[in-house]
């Protein structure tokens, strides 16, 4: 099975959103960081994360998919997948 490797630029942009939006220091934003247990995010933050990603990349993300996010890697994948599905979107 192919392992997803997020684009560096995408990781930088999403990490930046996380830092600014949720005051999370850079060193905590590893791909395996758990959104709830390690980064202290909750259900309200999940709503806001979706808004930040949509606004940053000009895309629409399926809100239902937010429910299955567990780690930062999941977030990178979600964003990357949504960008691919949008036309002419450049990370």
């Amino acid at each position: 099975m192919e392992t997803f490797v997020p684009d560096d630029n995408l990781v930088l942009k999403i990490n930046d959103l996380m830092k600014k939006g949720f005051e999370i220091p850079n060193e905590k934003l590893t791909k395996n960081a758990k959104l709830v247990d390690d980064l202290g995010l909750d259900s309200l933050d999940a709503v806001d994360m979706l808004v930040f990603i949509e606004d940053e990349f000009g895309i629409k993300v399926d809100g239902e998919k937010m429910k299955s996010l567990r780690t930062m890697q999941d977030v990178y994948f979600l964003a990357s997948d949504a960008i691919k599905k949008s036309t002419n979107k450049v990370i």
């Binding site: 949720f22 202290g40 909750d42 259900s43 933050d45 709503v47 806001d48």
Partner: protein, 406 residues
Amino acid sequence: MRVFVTGMGAITSLGNSVESFFNGLVENQSGIKYFPEWENYVGLQTYVGGPVGDYNTSLLPRTVRRSMSRMSEMAVLATFQALEHAKFTDLKKLQSSRTLLILGSTSGSPFALETYFRKIFEKNGPQGQLSTSFFKIMNHSVAANVAAALEFNGSLLSPSSACATSTQAMILGWEMIKSGLYDVVIAGGADELHFLSAAIFDIVQAASRKYKTQPESSSRPFDQARDGLVVSEGAGIVVLESEAFAKARNATSIAEIRGGSYICDGSHMTQSSSSVMAQTMRYAIQRSDITQNEINYINAHATGTIQGDIEEARAIEEIFGDSVPVSSLKGHMGHSLAACGALEAIASIKMMEHDVLIPTKNLVIIDEECRGINLLQKIQNGRVKTFMSNNFAFGGMNTSILFSKV
């Protein structure tokens, strides 16, 4: 049942503490600034306001801060000041069914409302709204956010009556403690400065328009050259306790609430009525245990509007003639809307403490129609044992509260 003030907190356009606020009044400072960016708003003709200076809320956890707009931030800071002043160092002692928070604002955050509706119109729907948007615009935003910051598990009320809000909160607190239902009440109000707050008054021709090049010259309560009010922002919070509760924990009582009343005109939404103002003041005295002769200072609501100041002067004259010194503090700090009642009470309590009477700033030539009362134009020494503080709001909301020295 006697009700005492044991703590006070203030965030104002003159300073972010009770001491800096009062010093600003004593030094005749102005908190009013010109806002050049307001000239870009079509139809707005007032460009002056009283902003609060920088403050720091970083000690609050992000999950508490995220639902706060400026008004809630200021209210939280003022509440912490008041609790510290009252020496409530162990907040767990507040977690009781006999503690009541009564906090309010004029409306939800105008900043958040602007952001919320701009997005609604841009997207033609709710897409893209942050989860915390509504928590900043709900009318009980201030109350709920202060409770969250305190981790307060007790009784909570959230009056919202514009300029009468915090005086209503204090009077209600007095009533609740006197009733025996509560031992402690934290009461007050907060509002934030936004061009929409100024627009409310500008639309009905009640905001100051002529002083953008000399903002410190407005507002000018009771003055012949007044041209309307100046909106400002801030938060004023007091801690009230029953005599028994304060004594049991050795609290220092700063002042005593002797009486208060809140009466609605039931007539015009914006035009105040001197007869109902007088009725409100009389009823406050009637509900107290003092006589009107014991009142030796009146803190007027007077905002600098042409008609409002006249109506209040007439009402005061009807009851007191020119026997009692009167001043308004809105020339110094502007009109902080929901915060003004608590802030003006706090300032008047400080006047009592320091035996000084603060005059009305920018009162150079008293309007002929306001000359029947004893208006202070210069700072002076004066022993105040009991003062009356008035606040009046749109919708015919009239309040009057009485405090005494202890």
